[in-house]
């Protein structure tokens, strides 16, 4: 599959490799305001950071603690969904 363009949301590949590529070839890479670039960068940063945290937690303590941490984070996200703004009635 091929990207239509780095700006396109609709034809984007859903892979971390593509996220790296899209981040680096983005024609608006250097623009101050570029939410798509920021999203890609933060996604890759969080995935990488999470991998390091998981690896070091397993190395220094054990795997169950890493999975427990993972579960707690997912539980926090579950709670956050109570706060998301709703679509307007027209949008529904």
């Amino acid at each position: 599959m091929v990207l239509e363009s780095a700006d396109s949301d609709r034809y984007e590949q859903a892979m971390a490799t593509a996220a790296w590529v899209d981040l680096l070839v983005d024609p608006r890479f250097t623009k101050l305001k570029n939410h798509q670039r920021n999203r890609r960068f933060l996604f890759l940063a969080m995935l990488t950071l999470g991998s390091f945290v998981g690896a070091f937690t397993r190395a220094k303590v054990n795997s169950p603690l890493a999975l427990l941490l993972c579960s707690i984070l997912k539980l926090v996200v579950t709670g956050l969904f109570f706060l998301n703004p709703a679509t307007t009635d027209i949008c529904k």
Binding site: D9, M15, L47, G50, A55, K74, F81, N84, P85
Partner: protein, 170 residues
């Protein structure tokens, strides 16, 4: 009390704004889930010699297994199970979401709670019993982790933030 329950019910019935309409909560939620995925895959490979959510990795391992190359570096049964459960989970959870309303607040909460519960059970199993690379216990934990990942991805996609898929490769 009745009015509050009614308000809560309405709140849960709402469809939440997607990533094009809203940029704060959706982004934070998906980024935290991405962080959690990183943790999960960092332990699944050394523990079970397969990935729980990185299914491109598992597909490559499957091809290597078919060619009988480097099979001492990964576990073929675990890899096949993870891939199968992930794909099945995506289909099941995705289609249920499509039917019930993939951006309904109650569905997002329920499906994420379900995914979290599977992860807690996996953590509990690992804590209570020694971690083995292969065998029924390993297959059980992989099933829990892969289905949890699938439910997470199927939940995240309708939020329409293609830049943050929450998993490393799908």
């Amino acid at each position: 009390m009745g009015a509050r329950l009614s308000t809560l019910k309405e709140h849960l019935q709402d469809s939440v704004q997607d990533g094009e309409e809203e940029r704060f909560f959706v982004d934070i939620e998906l980024l935290v889930l991405s962080f959690a995925t990183g943790i999960q895959d960092a332990i699944s490979y050394p523990d079970y010699h397969c990935f729980a959510s990185n299914q491109t990795g598992n597909t490559v391992l499957l091809a290597l297994a078919a060619a009988d190359v480097g099979t001492d570096l990964f576990n073929t049964a675990n890899t096949c199970l993870s891939l199968g459960v992930f794909l099945g989970g995506c289909f099941i959870m995705g289609q249920i979401g499509n039917t019930l309303g993939a951006r309904k607040r109650w569905w997002l909460i329920l499906t994420n709670l379900f995914s979290t519960a599977l992860m807690f059970v996996a953590a509990g199993l690992q804590y209570a019993l020694p971690v083995l690379v292969s065998g029924p216990r390993a297959l059980g934990v992989i099933t829990l982790l892969a289905f949890s990942s699938a439910a997470q991805v199927a939940m995240a996609r309708p939020l329409n933030v293609p830049q943050i898929t929450t998993v490393s490769r799908i």
